[in-house]
Symmetry: C2
Subunit: 365 residues, 2 copies
């Protein structure tokens, strides 16, 4: 298996070590400041809206040069400063003990340490601060989302989680698909015969693709995003793209919300402007395009007012600058129709696999 | 492994045969009516609200004696009659060809046959008619929900789906949990060392239970319901209870919505009064009870107006007649507080596993 890596050399184990080092450095830095007789402080890039820019080079939102400083010297900073330091401590505990947690768990766990957060929004925000300071995703700190999506195809992985070290699993082992949770996220890739990744929005279609052997016919790893892809899934798609050099094709419903599911996999969200690990800028949105609705004469529904409003927003969104997106937004607006992936069933259940999929995989975008 | 069965002898393969026989009988019956020179008609129990009763004996809603008749003789019936016959035909095709489908797929597929449904609500309704006529769940007809939940623990299953016949999987193979999709639903149970099932509402807690080896410490199969359990998951829990004689304990958030997640696993919904295959009447709601919030001094939030309104509805609901439910509803109303499962993290991440879980499993309900 080729294992070229471009801007990152991901090994789950090395990565964990790197993250722990970052947290240690953060702590050490605080101690040093105090040892020198100073009030400890933490400086980090500002995540305020004025400091978020779209960077066409990396094809995602990034943070600008503004920074903010939390210091124990300022009485108004003491609470958020303490919260941030505790969150770093707690993340270090989680990572060292190899336990995972959720945003909600962190909120409640704080109470065990008599660290008070007013509500979960406040603790979520401090966790994002920690991501910014430590320059890693919260999943690297073992804080995972609730949602789980799935993958299926010929990829053999090796676990690194406690109790499963060295065990391998081939991702065709379970024909309903293999859940993308913490264990899969930090597995090592061992070998694959796949030469592409196909990400699919809907569970029903994911099952259809498995039943129709798309993974074999098209040498593909199939990823279910289950609507908007959970962060762990976006991270995993990026790993497949970077570590295995696999091109990624995304199939969603043909409406502004489907487009945006694809876009968030490709270019991420403004909320995660401080991170680089959740995007796959070379991934392609392969359909359902507005022009597919016309070309394939798909059963369709009229766009709602909300759909149209959303299209106007996307039209102005810097992530949507390129020709494909602008063209498809215009076609949506012209015909004022949307269609779901399942609409292809009007030509029989396997049409989408036998006809549409190969046509779209060959399309030059 | 014990494999006693009480009111059903479930073998996925036998069951498929039974379902195909039912569909054939339905078709044969129509042919016979026509051969005798009559307009074909289909008689089935009425699903109108006046014909739905709570039956304390089977502990779920059931249909009464009223029936409805769809006949080709009545011009107003011709459309729904044709739709129903086509849906039966399509289900037979799916089942014979061992392909699965979703409600939405069926809606679009109808267009390939020039059978017109006004919208998906209409086709969903006809599929429910077919469930009533064929006396089986739509999952038996290979029509599956989009949602997928998961299971983890020492149970070895054998697949019956194409390409996987005879293959076995132990449900501890993947430490993120094994998805409950069509393939798992129709697998045969081979062997288990588990002596109970623990169903959990939240993904984060499901992962925590796996990480803390609850499946080993308590000999349990862990099921993630991921909120309201998808029908396939409820069906699977019933199979674990009936075929393997395993008691089922359900853990949800401590609020009226969590209670109801448990109740729907136990006693089903009024919508499925025509089915017996989605309930587990002996399953127990083990927490988080309103009284647990008080006893364990859990961090809690005030009930909203909507929560209180919901509690009043549940109080009058015949499924909630027994002492436990009525008592807990009263405690909710008295203290006007609710708490999530994760609230136990205030005592440390493993408190819920080390202290709360064993206490609740021993509780006599």
């Amino acid at each position: 298996m080729k294992k070229t890596s471009r801007d990152e050399r991901f090994s789950a184990t090395e990565r964990k070590k790197e993250v722990l080092d970052k947290l240690s450095n953060l702590g050490e830095n605080l101690y040093q400041q105090m040892a020198q007789g100073n009030f400890p402080s933490i400086k980090m890039p500002s995540r305020s809206i004025e400091n978020i820019y779209y960077n066409p080079e990396v094809r995602q939102y990034v943070l600008g040069d503004r920074t903010v400083k939390r210091t124990a010297q300022n009485i108004r900073h003491i609470k958020p400063f303490t919260q941030l330091v505790w969150t770093g401590y707690f993340a270090q505990e989680l990572t060292t003990n190899r336990k995972t947690s959720t945003l909600r768990d962190v909120y409640y766990s704080a109470q065990a340490y008599e660290i008070s957060f007013q509500d979960q929004a406040e603790s979520d925000n401090v966790i994002t601060d920690l991501e910014t300071v430590a320059d890693c995703a919260r999943e690297d700190l073992n804080i995972f989302p609730e949602e789980r999506s799935a993958i299926f195809g010929d990829l053999t992985i090796e676990y690194t989680v406690p109790g499963y070290e060295g065990k391998q699993l081939n991702l065709t082992s379970h024909p309903d698909g293999v859940m993308i949770g913490p264990a899969l996220t930090y597995s090592e890739f061992v070998k694959t015969t796949a030469d592409k990744v196909i990400a699919i929005e809907k569970g029903g279609l994911f099952t259809r693709f498995i039943e129709e052997n798309v993974h074999k016919k098209y040498n593909a790893l199939l990823v279910l995003t289950a609507g908007q892809a959970p962060r762990a899934t976006r991270h995993f798609i990026r790993r497949l793209n970077r570590e295995l050099d696999l091109p990624v094709y995304i199939f969603t419903d043909g409406d502004p919300w489907g487009m945006h599911i694809a876009m968030v996999i490709i270019s991420g969200s403004a909320n995660a402007a401080h991170l680089r690990e959740l995007t796959t800028p070379d991934a392609k949105w392969s359909g359902v395009w507005a022009s597919d609705i016309v070309d394939y004469k798909l059963p369709s529904d009229p766009l709602t007012e909300l759909d149209v409003k959303r299209l106007h927003e996307l039209q102005r969104d810097p992530r949507y600058k390129n020709d494909l997106w602008q063209r498809e937004i215009k076609v949506f607006m012209k015909h004022k129709r949307k269609a779901e992936q399942e609409a292809f069933s009007r030509y029989g259940l396997t049409y989408i696999v036998d006809e549409y999929l190969p046509a779209k995989l060959e399309e030059k975008i």
